[in-house]
Structure formats: C-alpha cells, structure tokens
C-alpha cells in the first residue's frame, strides 16, 4: 500500500516538474469558474461590503469574490473554529443529550493566503490529535478543499518570511493559485486538488512562460517583506528570561483587550459555557483569550496569571517557546493582523527583537 502511494507521489511530482498538471484561466473567466464551484460545493471566498474590509464568506456567485486584496480582517480560522459553536443541545428533564448534527457538505475555500493556509496546519496539531480528535473541527477540515492564493502584494505589516514561511508557500494547499496579472495559474498540490481541477471546465494548459513568470513573482514578492526576526536560540533565550523583569516593561502598554488573540489565525483558546432558555439549552464553545484576567481564575479566587505581565508572557511564550517545545513549530505565521489591529500598536516583532537583544 505504501509503495503505491509513493509511486503516486513520484508520478505527481514529475508531472508538476514537467508542468503537465498546471492549468491557467484568463482573469475575465474566473467569475464563471467560481460559479461552477459554487454550484457543486459550498464556496467561501474573500468578499467585501465596503470595498475595504475583506472577510471570507459563503458566496453563491463568482462575481461576489474580491480576489485582489491584502488579507481578510478576521482570520479564516473562523471557518473551522467559529467564534460560537454549539457542542450539543439538551432539554431539561431529559436524560440524553442531543449532539449537534455534523456538517457533511463539501466546502471549497478559494483565495486563502499562504500564511492562513499554514495556520490551519498549526491548528491541526491542537485539534486533530490521535488521543482526542475534535470532531467539530476535523469534520470541517476533512470536508474542505483549499485553493491557496499566492500573495503578490504583502503589506508593510506582514512578516511571514521572517518565520521561514513565505508569500508563495504551498504547504497545506490542495490547489495553489497564482495571480499572473492577466490570468490565474492553478497548480494541484494534493490528489484532492488534482481531482477537482480535472472537473473544472475551461482550463488551459499552463505555458512555460506562465510557470517561469510565477517563479519570478515569487522571488520578487519575497524580497518585498523586509521585517526580520532572529529565530535561532529564540526558544532557549525565552527559557532563560522567564523570571526576568523585562516582562514588566513589555506588557505595560497592553490593554488586555484580546484583539490580537481573536484575529490571530493560530490562536485557539476557548471557553465552554451552558446557555439555557426555559427548558432548552446548549453547551457552546466560544473564543476565549489568555489575555483576559478571568481566563485562569479559579473558584477559590487563586489566579496563576494574576496580572497583565504573566498573561503577556504567556502569549509570547506559547507562540515562540511552548508550541515549539511540543510541536517543533512556531505558532505564528507572520500575517501581521495583531500589529495592524492592536489599539496600543504592540508589535510582536519588536518584542522578539527586544528579547533577542537582552544580554
């Protein structure tokens, strides 16, 4: 069985190297392509009501998609891990609890940026474990095909390359899409992606110049991201400075508002609450934040993280140390949402720089 998969993988790699599987479509035809996808699947794409704020929403028609954008305001994690999700419903007086119906509908997310696509692989490590699979998350993951759109125009607040990722990162995509100015290039990355591409009518074979232009764009775009973060020995440095007073300084302008955690594509903390009206109720999972004081507050009144200092330290340590310790990956994709939206303009890259510069 394994040999068969390996042969398949080799075959696909060869095909990709030979450009056989890559397809293109002219830009003026993309709306129709999306219409086709919307007919057969639940299609999610970047949309905007005011032309400025972009959000990934379900679309019925291709023309609703806004494909030229920096990034969505909210992270697309909400499509897999929504702000509020009912775990199960119950009726008072009845013994059995009724689990929420599972989503079986096949979904396509079109236009996810590489940073957000990568964030899903990081969330998988938390929600899709061997011992306890989170069915609400994994169901959605299994039933979703991802078209990752390469990022041609990173913002000045982006720093994916500083973390070893990049605007043309293909990891996690089923199909990798590149905007080649007058057309889109489609590259299947997984078998799921390849099978889907075969279904789509009107695709042309990618020409040699398309593929080389795509490479040119990749190199050019990566060079545009100038923020650098010193990563080697960062984890060790953080271990060493856990009890240092630098954390007093780092947290002092933080308002504890939690916007960073809510908009962060890799933040996954949640609360579970029961909400009931008369005799019917639901157990709901809702987003929570390690930056809130009540997050770790115990019924006895004891709080292991009593002030903003401990909570800020927790956030930084979790992303750049604890997650690394457990999964050997940094829990940050450099999307820049926390930088752009923090009311106090906290800059996580500057915090890391400050930590790195400590003697």
């Amino acid at each position: 069985m394994k040999t068969h998969l390996w042969l398949l993988f080799l075959k696909m790699t060869l095909k990709i190297l030979l450009g056989e599987l890559m397809k293109t479509i002219k830009k003026d035809k993309i709306a129709k392509l999306l219409d086709f996808l919307a007919d057969k699947y639940e299609l999610f794409a970047p949309t905007s009501k005011d032309g400025l704020v972009v959000s990934f929403e379900r679309i019925e028609e291709g023309k609703q998609a806004k494909l030229r954008f920096y990034n969505s305001n909210e992270a697309p994690k909400k499509l897999f891990f929504p702000q509020s999700e009912t775990l199960f419903s119950y009726s008072k007086g009845e013994r059995e609890t009724v689990p929420e119906p599972k989503t079986e509908q096949q979904r396509i997310i079109f236009g996810l940026k590489p940073c957000d696509t990568k964030s899903l692989s990081l969330l998988d490590k938390v929600f899709d474990t061997t011992d306890f699979k989170d069915p609400y998350y994994t169901q959605k993951r299994v039933n979703t095909i991802i078209f990752t759109l390469a990022c041609n125009r990173p913002q000045s607040s982006c720093f994916c390359t500083a973390l070893g990722l990049g605007p043309f990162l293909k990891e996690g995509a089923d199909v990798f899409v590149v905007d080649l100015d007058d057309k889109y290039l489609f590259e299947p990355i997984t078998q799921k992606g390849e099978d889907l591409l075969k279904e789509i009518p009107g695709l042309e074979e990618a020409a040699e110049k398309d593929i080389s232009y795509s490479k040119e764009l990749a190199d050019g775009t990566e060079a545009k991201i100038t923020t650098k973060i010193q990563l080697d020995r960062l984890k060790e440095k953080l271990d060493e400075i856990f009890d240092e007073s630098v954390w007093d300084e780092i947290h002092q302008k933080c308002l504890g508002c939690g916007v960073c955690t809510y908009l962060c594509p890799t933040c996954h903390c949640f609360d579970i609450v029961d909400e009931q009206v008369n005799d019917k109720g639901k157990r709901i999972r809702i987003w929570d934040s390690c930056m809130y004081p009540a997050f770790t507050l115990e019924a006895s009144g004891h709080n292991p993280k009593p002030t903003g200092k401990e909570r800020m330290r927790q956030r930084i340590m979790h992303k750049f140390n604890y997650f690394v310790e457990t999964y050997d990956e940094i829990a940050c994709v450099g999307c820049g949402r926390c930088l752009r939206n923090c009311p106090a303009c906290m800059d996580i890259t500057k915090v890391i720089e400050q930590i790195n510069n400590l003697k």
Partner: protein, 281 residues
Amino acid sequence: MKNPYLPIPVRLNKVTLENESKDLKTFDLAFVNPQDAKAFKFVAGQFAMISINGIGEAPFGIASSPMNGAVLQFTVKRYPRGVLTTALHNLSVGQVLGLRGPFGNGYPVKELESKNILVVGGGFALTTLRSLANYVLHKKNRTKFGKLTMFVAARNPGEMLYKEDLEEWSKRGDIEVIQTIDNPVEGWKGKVGYAAPVLKELAPCPENTYAVVCGPAIMIKTCLFVLFEMGFPSERIVNSLEMKMKCGIGKCGRCNIGSKYVCMDGPVFTHKQLQELSGEY
C-alpha cells in the same frame, strides 16, 4: 469517532457529608448505561469532568478505586464563588449529571510497583489519594507493592475526610495509618500538630520509597522540605495539581504550565518535573 465533548449520563446515587463545616460532600455516581460502565477504565489519580446541564462543568479527581468501576465517587468542596460546586451541593439523589473522562495521566502505578508508598494527604486533597490507597490495598494488587503508609492531616477531627475508610484501614495489617490534627481535641487518639513537624517526627525512610503528596499549598511546601531533609529525591516525590479546566483534553489552552497541560501531561507530576517548569500554578 467518539466525541470527547459529549458527556455520558450518570445518576447521583448517594450523597455523603464529609465534614462538620458542611462544605465537603462525596457523590456516588452510577453510569446510566451499562455499556458506559463497562467502557470506563481509569487509573488512580485521573479525573473526570462533571457537568450539570445549564450550570457548567469542572474537573474533579476520582476518589473511588479503579477496581470498582460500576460506581464512581467524587468528593467536592463547595466554594462560595463556585457556580458548579454550589449547584452540586444542592443536588438530590436520583438526579442525572454528565461525565466526561477519564482524563489526565494518573499516578505512576507501574513505577510504584515493588516500592514502598508514603501517602501524605491534607485537607480535601485526599480524594485521589484514597483511590490510590484502595487500588493498592485490593487483593489483586497488594502483593505488587511494598509498605503503604497513609499520613493524613486535617484541621480538626470533624474536618477529617473519609473517616470510615481511615477506620477500616487502621484495622488492617497491610497499611499504616497516621492521622494528625492541628490542635489537641478531647478524645482524639491520633497525633497532634501541623503536618510537616509531625511528618518530621515520624522520620519516614526514603529508601525504595515514593512519597505521594497532596494538600493545600502551604502543607505541600512544608512537607516537601521535610521530605528533602529525610533524603527523598525529587524524582520520587509525586504531586497532583489542580488548575481551572474547561475542555480537559489539551485544546482550550488554559491549564498549561509552560508547555505542559495539567489536564494531559498531569495532573500528576513528580517534583523533579515540577522543578523544571515555571511556578505558574
């Protein structure tokens, strides 16, 4: 695929008031469905998430022995600010609750085999220690372990937990029970004094012995000092921690100490492991 967020129904069969200040009750919970009872296998030291629909859910250490799976016992302290603990204390026999579990790593019973076990328990932290003791004492297991000593401390005789168990254990030849209370009380036959000085007096031998220590923070701190003085190495001192928990399965992100989740990598840690973590608990 089993949904780890769905509770299984358990019925409250019995409520036992454990102390004079009336804030500690033991609840006997029986599985409503026999297949759930059959499937529920746990190790002493593990916990379960108990919930009341419409109120909430919280982690409680399993106080009953793993050798008796049909009925689970939990001892719950009522906190004035605790929504769930207050609701639990107001429950009547026959009501149905939700249970998820078993979660956590439990005591290292395999490692404890052929060793002597010194259990040091204070206040109401005795819950999972009772599970451990009854597990060790079970006729199928007793010969696997060495000497078993239960050292229990409470403020006064009225606050002593599991009085019946302590009495029964005292009558047995295969377990030594030492009880101590803070101040002398007429009619009290056990020791008098705070846990740490009385423990020091007892001078437990560290050789081939594991110390399992649970209790209020100050008690743990002072007893640890005594144990170190006696020569107990930190890898043979075992603690069980408590933290606020919601999911119990390492996903909601709140019960971590460093990179370890108390609900998954704990709640049982050797003291050596704790020394390697930050003090954030």
